[in-house]
Symmetry: C2
Subunit: 278 residues, 2 copies
């Protein structure tokens, strides 16, 4: 573990770190906000979108005021393995910065692009070892590609994440260009394998009336809304199995961090209510 820098913010401590991941076989960077509270604390894992690093949410979301007030840790990892020895692509939606939170099975990606295992195994282990995380009170959220990550990882790991939310998530990657491109390269042509990383498919199998509550915000001025995001498909899938979903369509908001900063406080309070109700 290497501490890169720390900042005091809203009375708590924000650290930029890197550590070795067995899953990605690389060093992974992340930021961790720890409020100035005692004891083990509820913790939110935040997954960012295409082209982002550990820095975007950290500097732009404006999340730490309410996180400090609620006493929540927030961890924001990078979106993919990186480095000169890690495969890449010239397009923004494949390779470094576009890990899609899955374990790749296809060459040349399968050696390093294992973000699903990184988030669920290595990052968990790292956080529990070094920070006062309450393992039983954890939530997951993310934006766009990271919203896809939050929904799929959250649905598949209900014992780990008791509360799920997303901003402008890719809910049906098997049906949209971003997801189809990523899945073809990372996990191959067999669409049966795509279902394991498709929130709409997963919620039909794993969701239900008693399952983890989900909050989604979607801006109606988001340029990707109709081509890549399609939250109504997820709403439909949830209603088929009685999965509790709050989908909020936000007039005039776009795909940017200005949209997220406007509603991040609601998400933090949603998670805090779910994690700390009793």
């Amino acid at each position: 573990m290497q501490m890169l820098k720390t900042h005091h913010v809203f009375g708590g401590t924000l650290s930029y770190l890197q550590h070795h991941s067995a899953a990605t076989k690389t060093s992974m960077k992340l930021s961790v906000f720890v409020p100035n509270k005692t004891g083990t604390l509820p913790t939110l894992t935040w997954l960012s979108g295409l082209t982002c690093t550990e820095d975007n949410f950290t500097t732009k979301a404006g999340a730490y005021k309410v996180a400090a007030e609620l006493g929540m840790i927030i961890v924001a990892p990078d979106t993919s393995p990186r480095g000169d020895n890690v495969p890449n692509d010239t397009s923004y939606d494949l390779g470094q910065g576009a890990g899609f939170y899955l374990d790749a099975t296809q060459a040349p990606w399968s050696e390093h692009f294992n973000m699903y295992s990184y988030i669920t195994d290595d990052l968990q282990e790292f956080m529990l070892k070094h920070f006062p995380v309450d393992r039983s009170r954890q939530a997951i959220s993310g934006h766009s590609m990271g919203g896809h990550g939050a929904l799929t990882i959250g649905l598949k790991n209900p014992e780990l994440f008791k509360s799920i939310s997303a901003f402008a998530p890719i809910v049906a990657p098997s049906q949209v260009p971003w997801g189809q491109k990523a899945f073809t390269h990372y996990i191959g042509d067999n669409k049966d394998n795509w279902q394991h990383y498709d929130a709409c498919e997963l919620v039909k199998k794993l969701g239900g009336t008693e399952k983890t509550p989900i909050l989604i915000d979607q801006g109606l001025a988001d340029g990707f809304y109709e081509t890549e995001l399609k939250p109504e498909l997820f709403q439909q899938a949830c209603s088929e199995v009685g999965q509790k979903l709050t989908l909020r369509l936000q007039e005039s908001y776009d795909h940017s961090y200005f949209f997220m900063s406007s509603f991040i406080d609601d998400h933090l309070r949603f998670h805090h209510n779910n994690l700390c109700a009793d």
Copy 2:
């Protein structure tokens, strides 16, 4: 006037724009947040620090939630003229990105580096023409070099700015390396001329018991605190003339936007109270 992009944020509208400045003889970029309120509105001019553009405060300060609540416009201009035809320097603290909010008199800077006139004349005219600014209810604030700008411009223009604040400002540029370097290049060796842009000197001449109230926040873990900032010099100068100053020394905070984001709400409320008391 050219609109570059707009975002919906906290119910208001954030615009990135550029317009021609007669003072700098260049196109100048800025961001403007306008809350969703009717009528003319109190307005804060925000001046950023060395190396910053119109984007840093806009994306990182987390100011728009409370600005929306208070109904305040915030305008954040770039920190200097820019362009291939504008003089520059290889160091970060001179030339483009380092305008120091003064009118340069020395070659090669004097043709374009006239940020004092840009802020007090061109930007005022532009804002009053295109946005619902209440001319009589305006405040000014900034960070580091921008804190120097806010203090000096605010002190010299009490009819324009009724409330002044700063984060980690350069209060005595004539006495510290950043200011001495900038002043030597921009306005020459004659130190008599430096006094017109030195907050400590200006407040002794222009401050007083009945003058514009000032709020300053300074982090005690700020690496520039003792070499470049020295807020105690300003505190001493204010006390000599009875100028009302609230100087808050914030334990553990550094020079970053994480520091500013932690206290920007206090500054917005301070300005709102001063501008809208009756």
